[in-house]
Structures are given as structure tokens and as C-alpha cells.
């Protein structure tokens, strides 16, 4: 399998204030190194404040890294190269209800990434929107609906469709499943698994539901206070956790 994403010594520090006019920084994350292969799912688990959301945000470019390098398909991913990044790595947000603009039709919402990142003519854009809607199990007619007209599960499908819009290689989902109802959640899990098989997508999941993580992921990374404490095959990590923090997590999450 080809290595799709390679992260080397990634760190992130936040400014916490000044002491004698010298800015003080606090290391929130890293150094972190990992690889992600094609059609693989990497899950990031950890307690709140362990830096898992920060890592996800750095990968999609919502936050800038302090040092380290990200190599995507053999190419350096520069901090400022937005088009390259946003075509390859897309994100599904936590709450579909609030991440969709209520004043735009679903068709226009899905069209936006195409408008900004490509120079596709309007006709093709429309076709692309329709095909993506079909892929996530909705109908082309849904493009004319406003977000309030559809149900919560369908909104999450729209969020997935929006992430798929530019044919990315990697999708980052930050707690995208935890707010969903049970039956809708399994529908979305099924959808994500199906899309992975069909399109060869790689996922980076940030989640704290151990059962779901175990079901869908190939690799698991356990973070604690910005450091990787355990990284390995999902089955192995869950069957024989090596680090105390992992054991604690498995225990508090019900196992």
C-alpha cells in the first residue's frame, strides 16, 4: 500500500502571555509523527484537552503548525498552499445542524467548494453536485431544498457530500458521529465504510466512542497531553493496551 500522508515531528505551541515582555509559549501538541496509508482509517482517541482536535485542525489547515512537516503523496504540504490542501484533505464537522448555512439551498452549499477551488463551468458543477448527492444516498431533487427542510440524518449526509465534493483523498471527521442518534449513526457509519470501499478514501477519525472506533479503524493513536502514548493496529491496541493511559481510557469508556 502506498503511503498517502506522512507527518514528521509536528508540533503546535500556543502563546500564553508575556513575562518581562518576552512572549511565553506553551506546547500543546507534539512532536507527533505518523503515516497514513491509502484506504486506511486512523482514529485519534484521548481525553479532552489531549490535543486531538488541534491535530485534526492542523491537518485540514484550520490552524497553523509551529514546526514539523506534512508530506502528502510525496509532496510537501506548505502552510499557505490552500488549494492543494483543501482539494486533498476535507473535513466533516461535528454538528451538521449548525455547519450548514440556513440561507442557502443545499445545491449551492455543495457547489461552493467547486466554485472556490476549481474553474469548472456551471453545467458541470451542477452535474457534480447531483452525482455526489446520489453517492451519499440522497436524490438530485434535494439540491433545491433548504437545510431546515430535511432531517438530521440527511443533514449529516449533506455534510459528508460536501466533504466529498473535491474528490479528496483524506477526510477528517472531528467527533462527527457522537452527536447523532443511534440509528442515524449506524447509517452514517455504513455510508462512510461504503464510500471508503468505492472511492478508496482514507479517514482520520477523532472520537471517544471506543466501540465505533474499534469497528471502523485500522490504526489507533492515543494522545495524552499532546503526546502520542500509543500508536498501532486497532485490534492490538484494544486487546493488549501497553500504556496506562490507554488502559484508563478503555476502562472509563466502559470496558
Amino acid at each position: 500500500m502506498n503511503t498517502l500522508l506522512e507527518v514528521n515531528n509536528l508540533t503546535k505551541s500556543f502563546k500564553v502571555g508575556y513575562r518581562w515582555l518576552i512572549p511565553q509559549y506553551q506546547r500543546a501538541l507534539g512532536p507527533i509523527s505518523f503515516n497514513l496509508e491509502e484506504q486506511q482509517t486512523l482514529s485519534i482517541v484521548g481525553n479532552s484537552g489531549s490535543g486531538k482536535t488541534t491535530l485534526a485542525r492542523i491537518l485540514v489547515g484550520a490552524e497553523q503548525r509551529t514546526s514539523g512537516e506534512i508530506i502528502l503523496e510525496g509532496e510537501q504540504l506548505e502552510v499557505k498552499k490552500h488549494i492543494q490542501r483543501c482539494c486533498a484533505i476535507r473535513m466533516i464537522f461535528q454538528d451538521a445542524n449548525t455547519s450548514l448555512n440556513p440561507r442557502m439551498r443545499i445545491g449551492n452549499l455543495l457547489e461552493e467548494p467547486l466554485k472556490f477551488a476549481t474553474d469548472m463551468p456551471a453545467k458541470d458543477r451542477e452535474q457534480e453536485v447531483y452525482s455526489k448527492l446520489r453517492q451519499v444516498g440522497l436524490l438530485p431533487e434535494h439540491a433545491h431544498f433548504y437545510p431546515h427542510m430535511i432531517s438530521g440524518g440527511q443533514k449529516q449526509r449533506i455534510a459528508v457530500a460536501r466533504a466529498l465534493m473535491l474528490n479528496p483523498h483524506i477526510i477528517v471527521a472531528d467527533e462527527a458521529l457522537s452527536v447523532l442518534d443511534m440509528s442515524v449513526r449506524s447509517q452514517i457509519i455504513n455510508l462512510l465504510l461504503r464510500l471508503q470501499k468505492e472511492m478508496g478514501l482514507s479517514y482520520i477519525f477523532v472520537s471517544h466512542n471506543i466501540n465505533v472506533v474499534r469497528h471502523i479503524s485500522d490504526k489507533v493513536m492515543v494522545l495524552d497531553q499532546g503526546q502520542v502514548v500509543e500508536l498501532g493496529d486497532a485490534e492490538q491496541v484494544f486487546k493488549s493496551p501497553k500504556h496506562d493511559q490507554t488502559r484508563k481510557l478503555l476502562y472509563t469508556l466502559g470496558h
Binding site: N47, S48, M182, S183, N211, R214, E235, F238
Partner: protein, 330 residues
């Protein structure tokens, strides 16, 4: 005698499309000293049931029930002022988003002062300040907050959701209620703190003999923390019984679907295989199906399902289905 006894509770409201029955003949009974889980997806009317018990629904909603009794007292027959006396003192409620039910303009300590039962205070006025501080300190320690000084001085936005939830629980137990209604107490809370909250409920239940109605949308949560469960779908009770029995042998297809929809550790499930799930989504209130509301999504639906099934009982296990999973159908 059950502490809370509800028979055929219906909650309706008038819409431009006619009268809509959001909660349809729900049954619940909660024994003293018990933790009851009320499970259902969003929009299944579980919060409405909780609000109806508390009596905090607005005038838009019509509540009717054959029996809505708390400790032998018919709640619907009480006047507003009599009911107000029960609210907060006998029956207390913890709301969904903890940080949004605290006043953002005021420190936690100040808000806590307002919620103390001053009519129980029997010290002269010049020693009341100290009495209050002692009470607050004791309550906060009881819910597991150690650095009470910092918490009391801070504003709600400075605390994490888990801490806010604990503060709210401490406020509600100040009056020593006998029934605590917890409406989705852990949905917005980070995973580590969720466990703490449930442990706290368990402790309150065992030490102070508080009965708890635990409302949640996640079946995983209630498995370890409750004695009995009632499952709701679209405003109808689907199944109720002892937690262990339901997890072992569900009678209703919906409960079965919920159980199957969460991948389990010990189950033999192929890695990355498709999960079994119900097709479609929860119908909106304007387009509710007649009869059993699960009908259009149910894998075992028959023609008979257009009639609303009657609650049946089998060894302390109630279910409402014409074709329960224990019976074979051809």
C-alpha cells in the same frame, strides 16, 4: 406503591395542520429508590414527558392522562401554586446543556446562594452568611468538587461543561428532592466526565435514596447505570422492563434495531462490515404514520400494524407490538 405512576399520558398541541399528538399514551412507573432510564432518539418526546411531570410545559401544550401520580397525589388535579411547591423541592430537574442553564452574568457562588432552601435555615440572621457558605461547601463536596473556592468565584463560561453539570446537580439536591429528573445530562460533556456524572447519580441514589429518571438518547449509557428501562419511539412507549432482560431478549423490533446499531466489543462482528440498521429516518410530527409509528421502517411490519398495538405484558416485561420478536411469523 410506585413513586411516579403514569398511565396513558398524551401530550398534544394545535398546529395549522390540526391537532398533533406528540406523545401518545405513554406509560411509566418508577419505584422509590430506583433509577429508570428513558431512552429514545431525538424527537421521540422524552423531554416532553419530563416537562409534563415537572409541570413546566407552556399553555400551547395540552396534557391529558388517565393517571399522573406522584407519591399518590394526582399532579394534574393540583392547582398551579400547589404544584409550584412540589417543583424543585420534591421533584427536581437537571437540564440538557448545563452551561446554558446557568446565568452567564453572575458568578456560580451567587447563583448557588439563590437556590438554597432558606426556609430550612434556623440560625439567627447574623449567622446566616456562614450557614450558607457551609451548606454550599458541603453540597459541592458531595458532588465531587474539591476546589469549591475557585468554582464559586468563577463565571459559568470559565468552567468546563462537566463541572457546570456537577454544580447544577449540587443546586438541585440542596432541597433534598425525592425524584430527580435528569434530561440528557451527559450529551455535551466530554467522555471522561460522563462517567463521573453517572457515578454521582448512582451515589445519590444509594446514599440519599433519590429516585432518578434518567433520560438519554444513547442505549450504551443506560446499560450499566439503570435498573429498568423504558424505550420510546416517536412519542409511543415501545418496550419497558428490567434492563438486563431487555438487553438479553428484546421483544420489540425497534429495541432490537437499537441494540444492533451499536457495534459491541464481544460480538462476532467482522471488522469494517456494514452494520444492521433501520432504513429511513424518524418521521416528522406533521407526517406521523397511523397505528404503530414504527410501521414504515419496521422489518416485521404487517397489514395489522396500522392499528395501534396494545401494551402487553410478559413476566414484568411490557411491550407494544403485534409481532414480537419471540414469536415466529411466516
Amino acid at each position: 406503591m410506585p413513586l411516579l405512576d403514569i398511565r396513558n399520558l398524551s401530550i398534544e398541541f394545535d398546529s395549522p395542520h390540526g391537532r398533533i399528538r406528540a406523545v401518545d399514551r405513554v406509560n411509566l412507573s418508577l419505584n422509590p429508590g430506583e433509577i429508570l432510564g428513558l431512552v429514545g432518539e431525538s424527537g421521540s418526546g422524552k423531554s416532553l414527558v419530563a416537562k409534563a411531570i415537572m409541570g413546566i410545559l407552556t399553555d400551547r401544550w395540552t396534557v391529558s392522562a388517565d393517571r399522573l401520580r406522584y407519591n399518590g397525589v394526582d399532579l394534574l388535579a393540583l392547582s398551579a401554586s400547589e404544584r409550584r411547591k412540589l417543583m424543585g423541592r420534591e421533584i427536581a430537574m437537571v437540564f440538557q446543556e448545563p452551561s446554558s442553564s446557568l446565568d452567564p452574568n453572575d458568578t456560580v457562588g451567587h447563583q448557588f446562594n439563590e437556590s438554597l432552601p432558606m426556609d430550612e435555615c434556623d440560625v439567627p440572621f447574623y449567622r446566616r452568611k456562614k450557614w450558607r457558605d457551609e451548606q454550599i461547601k458541603g453540597l459541592l463536596h458531595k458532588v465531587g468538587i474539591r476546589d469549591h473556592k475557585r468554582v464559586l468565584k468563577s463565571y459559568p463560561h470559565e468552567l468546563s461543561e462537566g463541572l457546570c453539570q456537577k454544580v447544577l446537580i449540587a443546586m438541585t439536591i440542596a432541597y433534598k428532592p425525592r425524584l430527580l429528573i435528569a434530561d440528557e445530562p451527559t450529551t455535551v460533556i466530554e467522555a471522561g466526565a460522563q462517567d463521573q456524572i453517572f457515578k454521582l447519580f448512582k451515589k445519590l441514589n444509594q446514599l440519599n435514596d433519590v429516585s432518578i429518571l434518567l433520560i438519554t438518547h444513547d442505549l450504551e449509557h443506560v446499560e450499566n447505570w439503570t435498573q429498568t428501562i423504558t424505550v420510546m419511539y416517536c412519542g409511543q412507549t415501545v418496550e419497558s422492563g428490567i434492563t438486563k432482560d431487555i438487553f438479553k431478549q428484546p421483544f420489540h423490533p425497534y429495541t432490537m434495531a437499537l441494540l444492533q446499531s451499536m457495534p459491541h466489543f464481544d460480538e462476532m462482528l467482522n471488522h469494517k462490515s456494514q452494520l444492521t440498521t433501520l432504513s429511513g429516518c424518524v418521521p416528522s410530527l406533521q407526517h406521523l404514520p397511523i397505528g404503530c409509528r414504527l410501521g414504515p421502517r419496521c422489518p416485521r411490519a404487517h397489514r395489522k400494524c396500522v392499528e395501534t398495538p396494545v401494551m402487553e405484558k410478559s413476566r414484568g416485561h411490557y411491550f407494544s407490538c403485534h409481532f414480537p420478536l419471540t414469536e415466529n411469523i411466516e
